[in-house]
Amino acid sequence: MTTHADAMHHTSTGLDNRKIGFWVFIGSECLLFGSLISTYLVYQGKSVVGPTTQILNIPLTSVSTFVLLMSSLAMVLALAAVTRGDKVWGRVWIAATAVLGMIFLGFQAYEFNHFVHLGLTLRTNLFGSTFFVLTGTHGAHVLVGVIWLWTLFVRSLQGKLGPDKAMNVELCGLYWHFVDVVWIVIFTVVYLLR
């Protein structure tokens, strides 16, 4: 079995290369979501055939936003627990983060289904196209995060997620928090500023 000390090695920066690489990935994700949000804004109000922003449900989305914010809290608590070697609470908070992520996805699935029943699809108008692509891409990121979290949970059950593997949880946390901050922007730009 490769230990953490074996896997880590001295680098010219003195920093973990995986963490540097992951921040570079997050930087590239900024550009991806920046372009999707820009596209949504550029086409906002340009196509008014069919349902548009008036069908957005602010109370429902506020709750799902709260759920995602609380999942970020659970994620940092998971990292803190794993780092101090608390296996039980590490497991609990990782599972809590994953469950909250799944609840968020449930809200999104309900919203998408509701919009389709109201006649808004990807093809209905520019609002439908940009809205579904933007929020759908974000939802896909949440799904990837949920799968990653359950993977960590299984590794924890196998006894392979001790303090020496805290970096694995930290990288998952960075991804999860980034997904959260992207939603913070989407909630404001798409749902509240219309």
């Binding site: 540097i20 930087g27 372009s35 820009s38 940092v76 928090h177 509240l192 500023l193």
Partner: protein, 105 residues
């Protein structure tokens, strides 16, 4: 590098800070939704919501993603593409006429 991670963890905020940040994030979200429903805020809705959203963004990035206490290189790696993304967004909004320069400019 084990020591590096141990050092990072020592500099990470504690559970108390994480709870305070979560409470502030919740309050800001409630304020955002509240402001949205108050007609008196309509003329200044956009700037208020953008400032509140930026505040939430900064809190998560600084405390939950640990950029406040981690090595500055991580902040640089994140901030440069973020600024490029914002610049591209603003440029596109001008190009497509969502924002308009004053006449004669």
């Amino acid at each position: 590098m084990n020591e590096q991670h141990a050092h990072d963890e020592q500099s990470h905020p504690g559970v108390g800070t994480y709870l305070i940040v979560a409470a502030v994030l919740t309050i800001i979200t409630l304020v955002e939704v509240g402001v949205f429903y108050v007609p008196a805020f309509e003329p200044v809705l956009a700037p208020i919501l953008l400032v509140l959203s930026a505040g939430k963004f900064l809190l998560v990035v600084a405390f939950y993603m640990h950029l406040k206490t981690d090595h500055r290189l991580f902040s640089v790696i994140f901030t440069v593409p973020l600024l490029i993304a914002i610049a591209v967004a603003v440029a596109l909004l001008f190009l497509f006429g969502v924002f308009a320069l004053p006449s004669g400019a």
